[in-house]
């Protein structure tokens, strides 16, 4: 188990920037996720850790060892590829044994280790199967077994769940988390799925356009996003452009140009938000934090869209100057119709102030 440190990493492809000035410090044993839309540079970063790309600038350390330009086969890394990259001409056992053979283990040791890891990923019966005789989920577990059997210092997972159907995805997610916790291996996980990232990670790095937007625990990222990109990328969010009217101790009053006035708390603001009187800022409000009925920050609006999902009722509500997404947990109450008027309240702790 080793830590990974990326220091001032920049990678350009020709003239195109892959990633820029990246600094990350991944702790030994940590489950660390790179999260972002496609093309944000997360896979590029992962491939630099794996050694398939060399950074244009900066250094990569495994613990204290500089591995920036070390060849991929000398890094002692386990990697699971998006399409699994299993060797199609080999059986399950041969696939898993490959890394051990490279490391010149004895036949006896190889067969013991392969059996053990096959048990770990619950593929006991499948040792002699060909790869094309396995389902997608089973292939995924072979790929995981193949990466884990070499007892890697670091495990890299490149969107390992993206080729599975929804149900398998959840099952495998739990499985991977279980294995990671059991083995305690430092894990770097790449995904564009924020639910996956939230559910599995110790810490998440949100990336966009090759730049790091925010690094933090799932709660930090969700509850205290640093900017509009993070707040809208992670979960659903209403982002309102508003002007600071007054700051009185902890209490902040903001209003939009149509006269909607809201009050929030100063401690709920991103370090990047200019919290001064008269400044224009953005306010992020999660749909699920808006309540129906009377309370703080009461607003009345007209319903323009209704969607019933079972778990919740999603409304779009038009208030002066903006349409809010509102999610009400379904408790069997009456469903409102398009055109109905609805009273909403927003607890002041649910407002989060952002800069750009």
């Amino acid at each position: 188990m080793k830590g990974v440190r990326l220091q001032d990493i920049t990678k350009t492809f020709g003239k195109v920037h892959g990633v820029k000035e990246l600094n990350i410090d991944i702790q030994p044993g940590e489950f660390f996720t790179f999260l972002g839309p496609s093309g944000c540079g997360k896979t590029t970063t992962l491939r630099m850790i794996a050694g398939f790309y060399y950074p244009t600038d900066g250094k990569i350390f495994f613990d204290e060892r500089d591995v920036t330009r070390l060849q991929p086969n000398k890094r002692d890394i386990g990697m699971v590829f998006q399409n699994y990259a299993l060797f199609p001409h080999m059986t399950v056992n041969e696939n898993i044994a490959f890394g051990l053979e490279v490391r010149k283990f004895s036949k006896q040791a190889i067969s013991e280790k392969v059996d053990e890891v096959r048990g770990l990923v619950r593929l006991e019966q499948y040792g002699e199967r060909k790869i094309n005789e396995l389902s997608g989920g089973q292939q995924q577990r072979v790929a995981l077994a193949r990466a884990l059997v070499i007892k890697p210092d670091i495990l890299l997972l490149d969107e390992p769940l993206s080729n599975l159907d929804a149900k398998l995805r959840e099952e495998t997610r739990i499985e991977i988390k279980r294995l990671q916790a059991e083995l305690g291996v430092t894990t770097v996980y790449v995904t564009h799925d924020q639910t996956e990232a939230m559910a599995m990670s110790d810490r998440i790095m949100v990336m966009e356009n090759g730049y790091v937007q925010q690094i933090g625990t799932p709660q930090e990222i969700y509850n205290r996003p640093v900017n509009r990109f993070v707040s809208s990328f992670i979960g659903e969010s209403n982002t309102l452009e508003m002007t600071v009217m007054s700051i009185d101790g902890e209490k902040v009053i903001v209003r939009n140009e149509h006269g909607v006035k809201l009050s929030g708390l100063l401690s709920n603001s991103s370090p990047l938000a200019p919290m001064n009187k008269g400044e224009t800022i953005h306010v992020s409000i999660r749909p699920e934090s808006i309540l129906q009925g009377d309370g703080e920050n009461t607003l009345t609006g007209e319903i323009t869209f209704v969607e019933f999902t079972g778990l919740s009722v999603n409304y779009s509500v038009k208030v002066p100057g903006v349409t809010l997404k509102v999610m009400i947990i379904n408790t069997g109450g009456k469903l409102l119709q398009i055109g109905d008027s609805i009273q909403l309240s927003i607890p002041s702790r649910s407002l989060y102030f952002l800069g750009e």
Binding site: Y54, P72, N73, G78, A85, F87, P88, H89, G99, V102
Partner: protein, 573 residues
């Protein structure tokens, strides 16, 4: 766990050299060196020679001179034959494709297998069997003459039309293959949609079907035109002297090497232009039909009269397709020198086949060809696999150049390749390790190597492209070095592709005639030249036995390749 002792990352000089971005050019330089030495250099030598020793543009003036028009006539005849061949091949090939893909009639299954028989005929052997069948003293004309007691044979295949008939028979398969692939991919619902919108049959053909087939038809047309321009065997046998390839051959045999070089430079210019047009067209061509799992609906021939007609036509088709091979087999069993004016050979023996393998003189050419084919193919494998890997997996400037340089020798007529080699290797030079290659064993394997350069390359790069790069990366990340990854992962996964190209290159080398006839030496006479000579010595039996042997070899290779391609489809994820 056990760990290898790590070197520090500021490691050895060698490691730093191999990581340098320009190291890749060191790796690919042998490929370019080979192409330079054996493709560009001979081409250049021939080009230089085409200007003659002191006379400057004289040869070109002579070529285009209006006083002695032999050369211009030859150019015209070549183009004329090629254009007609394209048209006849297109008609036969596309029609066959439609009949077999769209209609169900008695005899369809047999016909759809036999339709590819012409591919199994090596050019020389194919032309020979056509002269045996339809030539002046051929079986069919003579048979009809005897049957109806005619004064003269009713028709005979010779001259330009002979060439065109042979071209049609051997090359319609290019149209057939591309057209039937396109028709298979043609979604029947498009036609149904057009009918639904009120279009008539004719209109659907004009507005829907033909436009969708155009890309494949154009591609096949360019290919057939190129091959017809390069065609040498048919004009030779049918005595059409005024074609480009024949003029080159005649200049060479008359010792006028400068003129041969001029003619071949001009012919290469035509061929390479066509290669470029073809590549340009293939790149811009879009694959319109992406619907998957189309089930082609074959309309059944229902009426009684049509059924009879279709049976008769199928039987006729089967006979026409099989006759050349049957004829070869028949004549291979005839006693040499006995068949003169009779319809069929009068006396039969199995001796030719026995002596092929027992008589030193008849076995010699087979052995020569096997050896030379083996050497050439070995070169093709090494070069082809390396070039394919570089092309698909490495990133370097000059990829397009590499691709074109590999394709050029394939586009060049065999005659031109031979003339180029003569120009380059009649004297000592560095690429021949300071030897004169002409007249030695090595010149023919070199010619075969160059002519079949793209075969292994293409089949290997096709299977490499199918193989996901991340499979190699997975192997690297599991600790395997580059060489181990190549050996344990890349080679096993591309083996079928490599093998398919290898087999093809090998049989083609064994049957190669066009370049061989210009540069062989008597001590290493190849199989094809031996067939040609036996023909002229009226040893038809032996010649045809050689031919049948070649056909058997080709059939074996085709069967294995078919198996191989099925095997990959099964095991790929």
């Amino acid at each position: 766990m056990k760990k290898q002792p790590f070197q520090s990352s500021q490691d050895s000089l060698w490691a730093r050299i191999t990581r340098s971005p320009s190291f890749i050019y060191v790796l690919i330089s042998p490929l370019f060196l080979i192409l330079f030495g054996y493709v560009i250099f001979p081409f250049y030598q021939s080009f230089i020679q085409s200007f003659g020793s002191e006379t400057g543009l004289n040869n070109y003036k002579k070529f285009f001179s209006l006083e002695s028009t032999a050369n211009l006539e030859a150019l015209w005849t070549s183009v004329y034959i090629s254009v007609i061949s394209v048209i006849t091949c297109a008609i036969v090939g596309v029609l066959m494709a439609f009949l077999l893909e769209r209609y169900d009639f008695p005899g369809r299954r047999v016909l759809s297998i036999l339709v590819l028989v012409p591919m199994a005929l090596p050019p020389l052997v194919g032309v020979l069997s056509f002269t045996f069948l339809y030539g002046e003293s051929g079986i069919i004309p003579r048979g009809i003459q005897h049957l109806f007691n005619l004064e003269q044979v009713p028709f005979k295949l010779k001259g330009v039309w002979g060439v065109i008939v042979v071209h049609t028979f051997t090359m319609y398969t290019y149209f057939y293959l591309t057209a039937s692939a396109a028709i298979k991919g043609l979604d029947p619902s498009l036609e149904e949609a057009a009918t639904n919108l009120g279009a008539s049959r004719l209109r659907i053909w004009r507005k829907v079907i033909l436009p969708m087939l155009t890309p494949s038809i154009v591609a096949a047309a360019l290919l057939v035109f190129m091959i017809s321009m390069a065609s040498y065997t048919a004009p030779l046998i049918f005595g059409v002297e005024r074609t480009m390839t024949m003029q080159i051959y005649l200049s060479r045999t008359n010792g006028n090497l400068d003129m041969a070089a001029t003619q071949s430079t001009i012919l290469s210019f035509v061929s390479i232009s066509f290669l470029i047009i073809m590549r340009w067209y293939q790149n811009k061509r879009n694959y319109q039909n992406l619907s998957k799992g189309i089930s082609v609906h074959r309309s059944e021939v229902k009426s009684k009269a049509m059924k009879v007609v279709s049976i008769v036509l199928s039987v006729a088709g089967v006979i026409i397709l099989l006759l050349p091979i049957l004829t070869l087999i028949l004549i291979s069993l005839s006693v040499d020198g006995t068949w003169t004016t009779q319809v069929l050979p009068p006396a039969y023996t199995f001796d030719h086949y026995i002596s092929l393998f027992t008589d030193e003189r008849t076995w010699r050419p087979i052995w020569n060809s096997l050896q030379m084919g083996f050497v050439a193919t070995l070169g093709n494998i090494i070069f082809g696999v390396a070039a394919a890997y570089a092309m698909v997996r490495l990133n370097f400037k000059g990829k397009t150049l590499l691709d074109i340089l590999i394709m050029v020798p394939w586009a060049l007529p065999g005659t031109v390749v031979a003339v180029n080699l003569i120009a380059a290797f009649s004297e000592e030079n560095i690429f021949a390790f300071n030897q004169v290659l002409i007249g030695t064993f090595w010149i023919l394997p070199l010619a075969y190597f160059i002519r079949h350069l793209p075969l292994v390359f293409r089949s290997t790069s096709a299977s490499l492209m199918q193989m996901d790069q991340s499979i190699e990366e997975a192997s690297r990340s599991l600790g395997a070095g580059w060489w181990m990854t190549f050996r344990k992962i890349v080679l096993p996964l591309t083996l079928t592709g490599i093998l398919a190209g290898t087999l093809l290159a090998f049989v083609q080398s064994i049957g190669e005639f066009v370049a061989s006839i210009l540069i062989y030496s008597t001590s290493t006479m190849p199989l094809s030249v031996a067939i040609f000579q036996k023909m002229y010595a009226f040893k038809f039996g032996t010649a045809c036995a050689y031919g049948v042997l070649q056909i058997v070899l080709i059939l074996i290779v085709l069967t294995i390749s078919e198996r191989l391609s099925k095997g990959t489809a099964g095991s790929a994820i």
